[in-house]
């Protein structure tokens, strides 16, 4: 190794390091190859898992939608069952008896009071 010239000894050092890296034995090269393949396989399996999960989610959603459609086909009349003690709204009463009843409510109250007075 020629140490007198800085560039020369550096070039020599690099060449020797290159040589040592190129002359690795077969067992070591095999280990390196397996390590590299394992690292890349990890990435491939992660990529596959990344594709598989959304696909499985989509399939589940489709199955649920199909089940709902089978249970309630479109066009099928849905039955509404009123609860046993459902509160009756003012609008429903009005539909049955007519709006005039409410408008003459004061008159009926007065008539009822007159009848009671004349009867008693």
């Amino acid at each position: 190794m020629n140490e007198s010239d800085p560039q020369s000894w550096l070039a020599d050092a690099r060449a020797r390091l290159d040589e040592s890296a190129q002359s690795l034995d077969a067992a070591t090269l095999s280990r390196l190859n397996r390590a590299r393949q394992a690292a890349l396989a990890q990435r491939r399996s992660r990529g596959l898992r990344g594709w598989w999960l959304p696909a499985a989610g989509l399939a589940t959603s489709c199955a649920l939608a199909l089940a709902v459609l089978a249970w309630y086909p479109p066009g099928h009349p849905t039955q509404r069952v009123a609860p046993a003690h459902a509160p009756v709204s003012d609008a429903e009463i009005a539909a049955d008896d007519g709006i005039e009843f409410y408008q003459d409510l004061e008159f009926y109250a007065w008539l009822d009071a007159q009848e009671q007075d004349s009867g008693g």
Partner: protein
């Protein structure tokens, strides 16, 4: 399609870098087995966290992960040697002594025995003797060819620190190799 291309590019990048990464780690740990484990960890960490980054950034990101793994290894070893130093030093059995079992830095190892070069051995010894930061600055900057900014990013320090580490590494290496040459001539 883009994913396959990226996968191929990743494979090519790791293939191109793995041998130098192993040698750098081996110089830091003085153990081929430890170095292989650390490089594998670094590959996993790099692929998991940085594979989607621009390819121009891959080298500095990979070496950043590797440097982090090597630092963790140093920390673990420090803790282990504290424990063994406190509690196991009383053992007479040399098989249990971590100092005896530690890899011998002077042992050239199979690689350098195969290379059979005194100069390569001297270079290896000189690099192993350097403080970790100086060795990393030298190897990343002058062997791996990262620029100062990328070396600083990989080592998580300022560009000024890289220059300081590199300058000290060059001076120490030069001294060590000159000493080696003098010993050879005597």
């Amino acid at each position: 399609m883009a994913d396959t291309t990226n996968q191929r590019a990743l494979d090519g990048f790791l293939k191109a870098i793995e041998r130098r990464a192993l040698r750098m780690t081996e110089l830091a740990t003085a153990s081929r087995e430890e170095a292989l484990d650390l490089v594998q960890d670094a590959m996993f960490g790099f692929v998991r966290h940085y594979a989607d980054k621009p390819q121009d950034d891959w080298a500095r990101l990979f070496y950043r992960v590797l440097d982090s793994r090597i630092n963790d290894w140093y920390r673990r070893r420090q803790v282990r040697s504290r424990w063994t130093g406190t509690f196991l030093r009383t053992s007479d059995d040399e098989d249990d002594d971590p100092i005896v079992q530690a890899p011998d830095a002077a042992d050239p190892g199979p690689l350098l025995r195969l290379a059979g070069s005194q100069a390569a051995l001297a270079l290896d010894d000189a690099l192993r003797a350097l403080p970790h930061r100086q060795r990393q600055a030298f190897l990343l900057r002058l062997w791996e060819g990262l620029d100062v900014a990328a070396t600083a990013a990989a080592m998580r320090c300022s560009e000024g620190s890289v220059k300081t580490h590199l300058s000290r590494a060059l001076a120490a290496l030069r001294r060590a190799l000159e000493d080696h040459q003098l010993e050879d001539h005597q």
